[in-house]
């Protein structure tokens, strides 16, 4: 028996280039209330040919440093190992997010390309077994995920733990950081629970003030620990024209239907009623043309933002990167009212609050 010390993963230099995000499937073996993706079918798996087409067409004019697979649960894609292998033939690094439920079987299929794995993102929504299993509505999921952590640790594959911060786990931020560090994880990512109708109904979504408090707590943890800690995606910003990596065109999101979309968060958004974020069907449109449409969309978004700022101050929802676009793209029209209602806003004018109570 050999007791191992826990190594910290050294940072490794990586070549420059963009990040491609492929939603490999909209199927999932979990049913988490706080998930941003639409749960109901019909179910689709992204054709491998689309992945190949995008890589070929994009590599022709800019290098792809990293390919990320999301979903749904991307490892449920029937050709998951083939897609991983395909990406390695282009010389790109690979990462994917998973709930870890079937990880031993998944890893066995892709082990041959583990040197191409930048990291594996494991979705862990609580530092304690009961918190995670309750949020994930899947008894045993914490321990299955710990099996995934163990396998990666022993095979030298960097792990990033990802935690969606909800009202049910926001008291476990520090415990999560300590857990990730002691498990020898390479990084830890936090993300705000997005205001889907289901997550709001379950009272899991924090309001603006609470989210800012979470961000300050995360900033303090970043100062304390040497392990990289990130707040992924949505966050508050004082900048009126802050741009996420998608809007900076450092990252590109292709949904499970084969569309280039303007946003990785809004894609297949739960409760969404429109496809206003969809730019091009890559089955029939070249990636270059889709990229042109993205550039036009970003310009249009910024112009509309400017015009709106000229006419009124940004609302609280608009002061967060992802919720700004959620409102802008009208993905779930009724959410706009909810996000600006006194019960969800952190600062409510006195007269408005009195009126609401009355």
């Amino acid at each position: 028996m050999d007791r191992r010390t826990i190594p910290r993963e050294p940072g490794t230099p990586t070549p420059s280039g963009v990040k491609l995000i492929f939603e490999l499937t909209n199927r999932c073996n979990f049913s988490c209330v706080h998930c941003i993706r639409e749960e109901d079918g019909p179910y689709h798996d992204l054709p491998v040919a689309i992945v190949n087409k995008v890589l070929t067409e994009m590599q022709a004019y800019q290098p792809v440093r990293l390919v990320a697979f999301t979903g749904g649960e991307p490892t449920l894609h029937p050709q998951f190992a083939d897609v991983v292998e395909l990406v390695t033939t282009y010389g790109s690094r690979v990462t994917f997010v998973t709930n870890g439920w079937n990880f031993p079987q998944t890893f066995a299929k892709i082990q041959g390309w583990k040197s191409a794995l930048e990291s594996i993102s494991l979705s862990l929504d609580g530092a304690s077994e009961v918190t995670h299993d309750t949020l994930r509505r899947q008894p045993g999921s914490f321990r299955r995920l710990m099996q995934a952590v163990s396998l990666c640790h022993m095979h030298g594959v960097p792990v990033q733990l990802n935690m969606v911060v909800t009202r049910a786990n926001r008291d476990e931020l520090e415990a999560m950081a300590i857990l990730a560090g002691r498990l020898g994880c390479a990084a830890l990512g936090y993300g705000h629970c997005q205001p889907t109708p289901d997550a709001l109904a379950a009272n899991l979504v924090l309001n603006g003030r609470e989210r800012r408090e979470v961000e300050m707590e995360i900033a303090a943890l970043q100062q304390l620990l040497t392990m990289p800690i990130v707040l992924a995606g949505d966050h508050s910003t004082a900048s009126r024209f802050a741009q996420c990596p998608q809007l900076q065109m450092q990252e590109f999101n292709i949904d499970y239907r084969g569309n280039l979309t303007a946003c990785c968060t809004l894609s297949n958004y739960r409760g969404g009623t429109s496809d206003t974020d969809v730019l091009a069907d890559l089955h029939s449109v070249s990636f270059v043309e889709a990229h042109r449409r993205l550039i036009a969309k970003i310009a249009q978004l910024n112009l509309e933002k400017l015009e709106r700022l000229v006419s009124c101050a940004p609302t609280e929802a608009e002061q967060f990167l992802c919720t700004h676009c959620l409102v802008h793209y009208q993905k779930v029209p009724q959410l706009v009212q909810i996000l600006e209602s006194p019960s969800h806003r952190s600062v409510v004018p006195i007269e408005e609050a009195s009126h609401a109570r009355a």
Partner: protein
């Protein structure tokens, strides 16, 4: 010395994961320590998980490996000693 009827219980905070056909890893959720088990250790651990007695584990080793009865007991004793030192098994219980 282990009594033949002794049953050792894996600590409830341990997560067992097979690495391949031979090796495995234990993660202790309380201490966050990893422990690797070789082929024999993995086999013994799986028998422990099944609630087998020391006598049954020795029989399992005799059935699967080219060891004699005299060799199997010290092997098991040494392994159990390490498990106990690391707090990986609960206090022993005896089948009534």
């Amino acid at each position: 010395m282990l009594a033949p009827e002794t049953v050792l219980h894996p600590h409830p905070s341990l997560v067992f994961t097979r690495l391949d056909d031979t090796e495995s890893v234990l993660l202790h959720l309380d201490t966050k320590r990893y422990y690797t088990l070789n082929e024999t250790g993995t086999r013994i651990w799986e028998l422990l998980q099944q609630g087998r007695s020391a006598q049954a584990i020795i029989q399992g080793l005799l059935d699967n490996y080219a060891v004699t009865d005299e060799e199997a007991m010290p092997l098991l004793l040494a392994f159990v000693d390490e498990l106990q030192q690391e707090g990986l098994v609960q206090p022993t219980a005896h089948r009534g």
